[in-house]
Symmetry: C2
Subunit: 242 residues, 2 copies
């Protein structure tokens, strides 16, 4: 198992939705901030990675929720690089409450891309060594997400502030685009139980994206599409108790 790193975090009002629960995109923002801090503490900051002509990107998230963090709640976010193979790193995030009970977990898959070609690169042992993650041969296979047939579509224009230091749309923004079309009534009345999200292709400035949604009761299927498929996801929801 890898080196663990954790940070305390108190959920501010601006990361909370109108019902007082932490916003879904903010979960991923905070998680990635904390993995960035771990990397910096291990002398593996983005600047160091860039010196290889490489950059980390997330390719997949699997999230399991017991519940969502609440406004003003003091939580602890723990992260650990679990294992890696030639192309992928597997990193776990665990959000815990003040009594050390698990609120949610995020299993994430990462790869390194070549900054010139934007194509996946082999992972140099030198880059990952300090995390003490296990080197494995197998590539983890997750469930295939089928292409959508019918869908209800929303259109979004990429905004300047959607972009991050990688010069592309930050990966948390996709989640905003995905859930927005579910509508007010659904979103105030439901909480996610699980999310499976795959990033397929980056989105850049100037693009219009289509957020395609197909909803089957408590499961919603999503695609983000611009010149081709950018991301796909499946969300399982539960009804909030009244």
């Amino acid at each position: 198992m890898g080196v663990k790193y954790q940070q305390k975090y108190r959920v501010p009002y601006y990361e909370s939705d109108l019902t007082g629960k932490m916003k879904l995109p903010s979960l991923f923002n905070v998680a990635l901030q904390i993995s960035g801090e771990q990397s910096t503490s291990l002398n593996r900051s983005d600047v160091y990675i860039k010196s290889f002509g490489l950059s980390w990107i997330v390719t997949e998230y699997l999230v399991d929720f017991n519940r969502l963090p609440a406004f003003n709640e003091a939580i602890t976010v723990e992260t650990e690089a679990i294992s890696y193979n030639k192309f992928f790193c597997y990193r776990l995030f665990t959000f815990k409450d003040e009594n050390n009970q698990v609120i949610l977990t995020i299993h994430s898959t990462w790869c390194l891309i070549n900054l010139e070609t934007r194509k996946p690169a082999h992972i140099p042992d030198e880059i990952v060594a300090p995390y003490q993650a296990e080197k494995v041969r197998t590539i983890q296979r997750t469930e295939k997400i089928k292409p959508l047939e019918d869908s209800h579509d929303m259109l979004y224009q990429v905004r300047f502030l959607d972009l991050d230091a990688n010069q592309h749309v930050n990966n948390s923004k996709y989640i905003d685009w995905m859930i927005d079309g579910l509508g007010y009534e659904f979103l105030v009345g439901h909480t996610p139980k699980s999310i499976h999200l795959k990033y397929v292709k980056e989105v850049y400035y100037g693009k219009k994206v289509k957020s395609r949604i197909y909803q089957d009761d408590l499961i919603s299927y999503h695609e983000i599409v611009s010149d081709g498929l950018n991301a796909q996801a499946v969300f399982e929801w539960s009804r909030n108790e009244v």
Copy 2:
């Protein structure tokens, strides 16, 4: 002068734009979070204010920049309720660097609205007493912002995650809508010197807003309009040194 309150804050990657500077809307998010913390520490939380059937809203910002905070910079945000009269409270925010040098200041004007009528209410002394702000008779008059004639218009649909605990669009979102239409080239090449922003009318879910922009070299004029005028602003910019 009023009771001062301050918090340290390290700028995370997700509050930073692609150039590594803190995002403009995030400045206001962080400022309001910290004034909320002061209020809670003085037993004047939003829940207490709500027990009067009232809620605080911001009506105006005057921001002066020496520069913007940078990604990963450790800053201190200090706030103080300076004075109040029958209808308005005046609160100062000062963002400082590690050497106690001022990065920027925000002069803000607040009023209490009646939660049923959404109309301004008299400010009870009981609510503001613990802040030890000076009671004054005069209402501060700021420069009038003229209505726009010509403009370049952008259209935005209100999203679920734009809403805050007040059930309306969070006031930092207006700034996102205002600057986005200035475009990539301008935004990577310029930094604000000052902002004067007036909130006129709340925006609710389901609305489409028009962001109107008139640009005269290094000054940009803005209006947010839906069923009527929601907000207006003037930004002064300086060119970044290359």
